[in-house]
């Protein structure tokens, strides 16, 4: 059973405390939403959990081991999608997906046709990202989740730029992932109504539970 555990996490910037004393544990099949107003530190917290940013205090443990000590093992099990999509405008969808596949380190590559169909971009293999809308780029960025086939998903504002159809697709993916035993932690400042799975909440900026 996989667990991500956050212990007494604190982060401050230029003497300004973003958050402190944050503790929680998320296990297989759980969905956690980090919410709070702009500037409350949601993105920073996700970056800390992903291992991109160091906290001022506290630790993040993956299966009771610090993520710094088991970085390789942790990165194999984790996918992170930040504000930026991590895709190149000068490449086509399939070229971008080929790069994601190479970075995933997996030998058994997922079928690109199926992935594009799932994410709502069927037949768009050869379209240049630069010619796509912000929502379509976001969907391309989110294909990373299907390519990496990771256990833990860390999503920062995953619904940004997405239309209703796109939101439903991503919500379905999140719910299915949790139902299959995966872990999802996502940050958003929007009121979300995810159906089909219970959602735990962490509120930043006004106390946490």
């Amino acid at each position: 059973m996989a667990t991500i555990e956050v212990n007494k996490l604190a982060c401050s910037r230029r003497d300004n405390i973003l958050f402190e004393d944050i503790c929680f544990e998320v296990s297989d099949g759980e969905l956690l939403q980090v919410d709070g107003i702009n500037g409350s530190g949601k993105s920073t917290m996700l970056r800390i959990i992903a291992g991109l940013t160091e906290p001022s205090e506290g630790t993040v443990l993956w299966n009771s081991q610090s993520i710094i000590e088991c970085r390789n093992e942790y990165q194999q099990q984790m996918s992170y999608l930040g504000h930026s999509n991590g895709v190149k405008d000068a490449l086509t969808v399939s070229e971008n997906l080929a790069v994601m596949q190479a970075l995933s380190g997996r030998e058994n590559h997922a079928d690109i046709d199926t992935i594009l169909k799932t994410i709502g971009l069927p037949g768009m293999h050869d379209v240049m990202l630069g010619k796509m809308s912000a929502g379509q780029k976001r969907r391309t960025g989110l294909t990373r989740l299907l390519i990496n086939q990771s256990h833990l998903w860390l999503l920062d504002e995953p619904f940004t730029s997405l239309d209703t159809d796109g939101k439903n697709i991503i919500e379905d993916l999140i719910v299915k992932h949790c139902q299959n035993g995966g872990i999802v932690i996502f940050a958003t400042h929007q009121e979300m109504d995810i159906e089909g799975h219970s959602v735990r909440h962490i509120h930043l900026g006004k106390g946490n539970d």
């Binding site: 992170y80 930040g82 930026s84 991590g86 895709v87 190149k88 490449l91 790069v99």
Partner: protein, 220 residues
């Protein structure tokens, strides 16, 4: 190696589709080299001893111009974050990006430099020496430059980058020029080439590690 070459292919495709990034340093190089005979005069006797120095200094400045392109767009669109979190060593990805950068900027620069060297009256021995020093020297420029770019990426002020790297480029320039002087005097250039090869090996082994560490610091 599949991941390494996928990243090299990716960067080559992007450079090919944004051709100005490929052409700008070359245009700068050609324009500056053309200015020298206009300023100094077209007398072959006068130009010959200065040609190698002109080519090397201009190549160095042209290479500095193109350096930011190694990581700038990847930093802006979040690709560097994904590289850092990839299931492939960041050091390997950095090396792939620097290799692609050398193929995009270093190799065309070498070809144009040889052409310009031929026009500016360098003899065969000097041209051969120019080729060898550029082949050994330009990858060092990309490797050392990558560390400085990784440290300064996202910061305002292009001067900081130049201030950081130009002193580090000095040994390359010194040994390359010593080799060029020896070649035009008909002396052996082996010692200078060994020094350049030594610096290349040192840069090849240490620079990707330093660059990867600098990228992690910039992201945090």
């Amino acid at each position: 190696m599949y991941t390494f070459f996928t990243i090299v292919r990716r960067d080559l495709l992007i450079a090919f589709r944004n051709r100005y990034e490929l052409i700008n340093p070359l245009m700068f190089f050609i324009m500056v080299i053309v200015l020298f005979p206009l300023a100094i005069g077209s007398d072959r006797q006068m130009l010959q001893p200065l040609t190698a120095g002109m080519i090397w200094v201009t190549a160095l400045l042209a290479s500095t111009l193109s350096l930011e392109a190694i990581f700038r767009s990847d930093f802006e669109d979040g690709s560097i974050e994904q590289f850092t979190l990839a299931n492939y060593p960041l050091v390997g990805l950095v090396l792939a990006k620097v290799f692609a950068h050398w193929l995009i900027t270093g190799v065309p620069l070498i070809l144009v430099a040889l052409l310009v060297g031929g026009f500016l009256a360098l003899n065969d021995a000097a041209l051969f020496c120019l080729l060898l020093t550029l082949l050994l020297g330009t990858p060092i420029l990309s490797l050392i430059g990558a560390i400085a770019v990784a440290l300064t990426i996202g910061l305002r002020g292009g001067m900081l980058l130049s201030l950081l790297i130009l002193p580090l480029y000095m040994p390359v320039l010194i040994f390359a020029m010593l080799a060029m002087n020896n070649a035009s005097d008909g002396l052996s250039i082996a010692a200078e080439l060994y020094f350049l090869a030594g610096i290349l090996v040192l840069a090849l082994t240490l620079s990707p590690i330093a660059t990867a560490a600098a990228l992690r610091i910039r992201l945090s």
